[in-house]
Symmetry: C2
Subunit: 326 residues, 2 copies
């Protein structure tokens, strides 16, 4: 039985070893891969692969390569998203396209997607077809989610349902796939693998809404990013969409005016919007929605037929994610 | 037994059917995929998958999905290369990043890489591990080749050996992999699959050198691209590298001066360089190198243990490629 921390350690050991093997030429292609893969991160997805695998089998080393594949894929999407979003920083380091250039970032990202598939393919032959089908379907959904996210930037009206669908595709599906992949590799029945997918999907939705919340109400030093960045970028987060739907009369007018006013100072804009969120009870609405997904997730986990102790470890990961401040 | 034309027809029928299935949302993600996959091209790689498969088996339909995978991957690399090279046109149409924008081109390219793997994975389970390993290794080499190609743009001295290694990675390896994949799927022994890989590698090298030659000595209307584009772009093709290595005294000085003179007119530059190529016998050197690879390729094909008739069809493809004018 392995805890989250133990799974993270097993994964990080394997990652260090594999990153050494990627010190190849041409350097312009492989150095950025090493750079982003060594820049930290929670290693949430690969740990979930291992923990889900561990519900059904103890031979955890045999799931490490597919776990590496999913983490490489996740970082590949971050690398390309950062180009598209023109983000200068990631995990307190300059992004690849900032440190090198856009061409290097495009091509080393492409290489990472290929390396991801290379690792995912390193699993027992009997599970390969099923693992690859699950992974490719989800990988395509992640691209769809990113496209919707970009489309929303220029759309006036984004409904709550549209937003939830977008974060499901962009974030929740890969977390769900991590759990399903671990289950398949551990020899779980199809139904159990699908239930763990649903556990992960609900957990992923709660996780992203928590992120939206922390952007406004978090502690900047703990969260690791400046507070209010989504507000400054006029991002249509769950909070903003909810505020636009519940605000009336003067509040709605003030909200819309602040959104359209390009010339107000950053601090002032954050203060006004945060004030409106308080007045409109947006934190409560969002926390309620998070709890709803969190409860759904736990219900899924409950129905998985496996040893109580490993399920307890997964439950504690879910709880930790819900109470996280970063 | 299927000829090149028949394989192209089988492939194009499958492609049309699959492109219909890709009419999905969000349109910004999938329309560019449909656009580039419907813009023509020789369909050389997927046809080689099918013809190589046909050396060992007649059930050609069972190799169509992996053939689709390789053609999707090839077009994904073209799409991303066009962003990196800032190319405005491809196959007489605006490139994706020109018709839409760079973000759309990055993300729909990413989707194409995933779709490529999805198709490649649709093969008989017993061959899946081997097909994927071959493919991922080669896909990574294609990225390495593109990176070297970009590096060469700013390097003063590129040796003939460096150049040949670059085009092997960027172009020849995927042609080789097409042939090897067909052979694996057809049930060929490892040695035969590797011999077909070598046939394809030599054919691919000859193919790319032919491309370099056609850029200078081709007929623009037949070739489909303006003649001398590589000269204008100061590209270090085989011809240029050879010319720089054999030119002496005044010829070398004139060559270097023309290369460094940014202000000479395009027509004048093409005329001067082409004149030097004539004087230095560069066409003859290049044709000799092409013949060398072509002969190597045929020798590999000769040693494959398979029916004479299907080998004859593959030999005629090689001959057609060597005498092509476009």
């Amino acid at each position: 039985m392995f805890t989250l921390q133990q799974c993270q350690e097993i994964f990080n050991t394997a990652l260090l070893r594999e990153v050494e093997l990627l010190k190849k030429k041409p350097e312009e292609l492989y150095l950025p891969v090493e750079y982003i893969m060594s820049s930290g991160g929670k290693r949430l997805r690969p740990s979930l692969v291992l923990m889900s695998f561990n519900l059904f089998s103890d031979d955890i080393e045999s799931a490490v390569y597919p776990a590496l594949g999913i983490e490489f894929f996740h970082n590949f999407t971050l690398l390309h998203d950062d180009i598209m979003d023109k983000s200068p920083m990631r995990r307190n380091n300059p992004t690849v396209h900032t440190k090198w250039n856009e061409n290097v970032a495009i091509l080393s990202g492409d290489a990472m997607a290929i390396i991801a598939y290379h690792y995912i393919s390193k699993c027992r032959a009997e599970f390969l077809t099923s693992v690859l089908e699950t992974f490719s379907q989800s990988a395509l959904k992640v691209c769809e989610g990113q496209q919707y996210d970009m489309n929303f930037e220029t759309l006036q009206d984004v409904s709550e349902a549209d937003y939830l669908k977008m974060i499901e595709l962009k974030t929740a599906v890969l977390i769900a796939t991590s759990l399903k992949t671990g289950a398949i590799l551990g020899g779980a029945k199809t139904q159990e693998a699908n239930t763990l997918y649903d556990f992960g999907k609900n957990l992923g939705l709660a996780f992203q809404l928590q992120d939206d919340l922390l952007d406004v109400f978090g502690n900047s030093e703990v969260f690791g990013k400046p507070i209010g960045a989504d507000i400054i970028a006029n991002k249509k987060t769950y909070l903003m969409i909810k505020a636009l739907s519940v605000a009336r009369d003067n509040d709605l007018a003030e909200l819309k005016q602040t959104l359209s006013n390009k010339y107000s100072g950053h601090a002032e804009k954050i203060k006004t919007i945060t004030g409106l969120y308080h007045k409109l009870n947006i934190q409560k609405y969002t926390a309620g929605k998070i709890k709803c997904y969190y409860d759904n997730a736990l219900q899924c986990l409950e129905s998985v037929n496996s040893g109580a102790r490993t399920k307890e470890y997964l439950r504690s990961v879910a709880e930790m994610l819900m109470h996280r401040e970063r």
